[in-house]
C-alpha cells in the first residue's frame, strides 16, 4: 500500500506565503512610523528618540536574523552558496552584541530613553502579529 503524497498548495497561495518576510518588514516599518508621533507627544522626546534607536536596531536585527536563517538553511540543504559555520554563528552573536551596545550607549546618555529602546525592540513581534492577522484574513477570504 503506497502512501499518497500530500497535496501541494496552489501557486497563488505559495506566492502569497512567500511574501511573508517582505510584508513583516513593511508592517514593522509602518507600525514604527505610525507610533512615533504619538509616543513623542505622550512620552516625550527622550522616549521617542530611544524608540527610534530601538526600532532601527530591531529592523537591522530582523534583517540579519533572516539572512542567518537563510544561510543556515543553505548549509543544511547544501544549496545556494554554503557559508562557513563559524560565519553563521558569528553573525548570530553579532546581533546580540549590536543590541547590547545600543542599549548601553542609550543607557549612558539617558535612563528614560531605555524604555523607548525596549519599546522599539518589541516592534518585530508587533510586525509578526500583524502578518499573522493579515494571513488569517486573506486565507479565510481566498480559501487557501
Amino acid at each position: 500500500m503506497s502512501e499518497t503524497p500530500p497535496p501541494s498548495p496552489p501557486p497563488a497561495a505559495e506566492a502569497f506565503y512567500s511574501g511573508a518576510y517582505r510584508r513583516m518588514e513593511r508592517f514593522l516599518l509602518a507600525l514604527g512610523l505610525a507610533a512615533l508621533p504619538l509616543l513623542w507627544w505622550k512620552a516625550g522626546a527622550r522616549f521617542a528618540l530611544g524608540y527610534v534607536a530601538g526600532g532601527l536596531v530591531a529592523f537591522v536585527n530582523f534583517h540579519w536574523l533572516k539572512r542567518g536563517v537563510e544561510a543556515l538553511a543553505d548549509r543544511i540543504t547544501r544549496s545556494g552558496r554554503p557559508q562557513p559555520a563559524t560565519g553563521i554563528v558569528l553573525r548570530f552573536l553579532l546581533r546580540y552584541f549590536l543590541v547590547a551596545a545600543a542599549a548601553y550607549a542609550i543607557f549612558t546618555i539617558s535612563a528614560a530613553s531605555v524604555y523607548g529602546l525596549l519599546a522599539g525592540l518589541c516592534l518585530p513581534v508587533a510586525g509578526i502579529l500583524c502578518e499573522a492577522g493579515y494571513e488569517v484574513v486573506i486565507s479565510v477570504r481566498r480559501g487557501y
Binding site: 505559495e14 506565503y17 512567500s18 511573508a20 518576510y21 530582523f62 536574523l65 533572516k66 536563517v69 537563510e70 543556515l72 538553511a73 543544511i76 540543504t77 544549496s79 531605555v114 524604555y115 525596549l118 525592540l121 518589541c122 518585530p124 513581534v125 509578526i128
Partner: protein
Amino acid sequence: MRKTVFVLLTLAVLFVAAPAFAQGGPGAAPASDMKWIYITAGFSMALASSVCALGQAKVAAAVAEGLARNPAARPGIQLALFLGLALIESLALYTLAIIFLKLK
C-alpha cells in the same frame, strides 16, 4: 524529573515573593530590600536567557532534522524557524523590560 520541577517551582515562588518583600513603605525600598530585588532580577534574566537559549536550540535542531529529511519543504520550514527564533528572542526581551520596570 521531580527534583527539577521542585527546584523550578521553588524559584518561581521566590520570584513571586520578591516584590512582596519590596512593598515595605510608601517611600523608596530599604537597602536590604533593594539587594533582594537586584538578586531576583539577575536570577530572572539568567533563567529567561537560559530557557530561551534551550528553546532556540530545540527549534534549530528540529529544523535541521526536518530540512535534512525533506529539503523540498524548505520555504515553510525556513519561515517557521525564522518566526520561532524571533518570538523566542522576544521573550527574553520582555523579561528585560519587566526587570527595568521593576527596578525603576
